[in-house]
Structure formats: structure tokens, C-alpha cells
Amino acid sequence: MTESNTQAAPEIQIYRIYIRATPEAIWNAITSREWAERYGYRAPVEYDLRPGGKFTGYASEAMMEHGDAPGVIIEGEVLEVDPPRRLVQTWKVLWFDEPATTLTYEIDDDEEGVSRLTVTHDLTGAPQTALQTAGMIDGAGGGWSQVFSDLKTLLETSNSLYG
């Protein structure tokens, strides 16, 4: 029944989505704790938004209920900050013994009232993390695709898909 994933996930993953929202609203949804709890995995984040600042990703309530999740599940360091356009950070998943990866968020203006969010995740040397973010691990969620699809729905309709 279970399909084993013999396929490797790409080392460079690019996710792009057009959202009917201002760049500021998207920036806020990515970097603020309150917003991060409202879409995707509903896992709170904490950013110290300056170069060298700390990034912390916490387990969601649902993950905590499963019992085996520690409080902090992802750690990173902010490398570049240019609100509301560009954020570069490292991103290390603590449950895999793999090196830190690099995550870049870019927010551009598209047509009127629409912004373009492009997320580039450089997962070189971190194949397990890559499978996770690509949503290729059974039972571990849809990865970034699911997160950003849900973010779009939340910002455009004020409702999350998985509420």
C-alpha cells in the first residue's frame, strides 16, 4: 500500500504564487507569529528581522498533540532583510541530521493589486529536508506547495483551507 519514495527531491526548489494582496500583507503573513499560525502547518515562527538575527520555527498545536514533537522544530539565521521585498535566511530542520539550507523569499508587484511571491529553497546536501519541503514524505503534509496555496487562500478570502 505505502509507496516508498525512491525518487529524490530537487536540490533547488522554486515555488511561485500570485496573490491578490499587497507586498506588505504577504511579508507580514510570512514573518509574523500570529499569521504563521493561520495557514499551512499552523506552526508559529519567530524572526529577529536583521542580518544575523535568529529564526525559530515552533511545532504547531497539532504536532504537539501527537506528543513526539519538541517545542522548536526549525532553526535559522536571517541573512538579508529588505521589507517587504526580500528575505534570505538559513533554515535547518532539527529532526534530520542535515546541514542548514537557504531559503529566499522575493515579493514583486504584478498587475494592479496582485503581488508575486517567489520562494527559492536551496537544499543542497539536505535530501531528507528536500523530500519534506517537496511534500514527498507520506503522511508529512504537502510541503511548501500546500503552505503557499493555503497562504493565498487565507489572504484572498480570510479563510484557510484547513481551518
Partner: protein, 127 residues
């Protein structure tokens, strides 16, 4: 109807999403384009010439298909030195799934899949 379109933000958003979905469905409604996406799924970040080698089609034909995929947001093209690398962007497909599959099918599909599994595990159908 038009008055609604002009005044009601929800409807504007709804119709815009429909247009986005149309482009994705249209892009997926062609075997060559689905094949190109599968190629990128197998190995992401390929140049156009690498993709051309895999398809029995003129350069021009492949370029046209890639443009339709790009307009639908299904691929993202990134410059790397002298090359344009093509990356699969899975988010629009996920959005279609969330919008059109997940919502309608979860309950009934789960029941049907359980039935299929039950019938097939009786042994008269090959695995």
C-alpha cells in the same frame, strides 16, 4: 452582474481565480506539456535544449509549449550564467487540488478507495 463585478471584491477575486485555473487546466490538457512537466519532475532545472532532446518536436514547438506552461505559472525560468533553467512550480497544481479535488472528493473518494481496496484484496484482481 457587472455591477457586482465592479463593486464586490469577493466576486472579482473569484473570477480572477477562475481565470488562473483556466490557464492551468488548459496547460495541463496537452500530453506534450504534461510530458515536459514530468521531465522536470524527474530532474528539475533543465535548459530548453535539454528538454528538446527528449521530445520529438521542433525547437519552435517545444518553445511554444514551454511558454504556455510558463504563462500558467507551472514552470519558472531562472537565468544561470548563459542558460535559462526551467523549474517545475507545483503550487498551481496544489491550488487546483485544494480547490477542486480536496473539497469535493475527500469523503466519497475515501469510501470508494476503501471499496476498491476491499474488492481487489479478495484476490481475483492482480495487485
Amino acid at each position: 452582474m457587472f455591477a457586482y463585478l465592479l463593486t464586490c471584491d469577493h466576486l472579482v477575486t473569484y473570477y480572477r481565480r477562475m481565470a488562473d485555473d483556466d490557464r492551468v487546466f488548459n496547460a495541463l490538457a496537452d500530453p506534450t506539456r504534461r510530458f515536459l512537466l514530468d521531465l522536470l519532475y524527474q530532474r528539475d532545472g533543465r535548459t530548453q535544449s535539454e528538454l528538446e532532446q527528449e521530445v520529438e518536436m521542433t525547437r519552435f514547438g517545444v518553445a511554444k509549449h514551454l511558454r504556455i506552461l510558463e504563462e500558467a505559472g507551472l514552470i519558472v525560468i531562472r537565468k544561470s550564467g548563459r542558460n535559462n533553467l526551467h523549474f517545475l512550480n507545483p503550487v498551481p497544481i496544489r491550488s487546483i487540488y485544494d480547490r477542486w479535488m480536496h473539497k469535493y472528493t475527500e469523503q466519497r473518494a475515501a469510501t470508494l478507495l476503501a471499496l476498491k481496496h476491499e474488492l481487489e484484496s479478495r484476490g481475483d484482481t492482480p495487485e
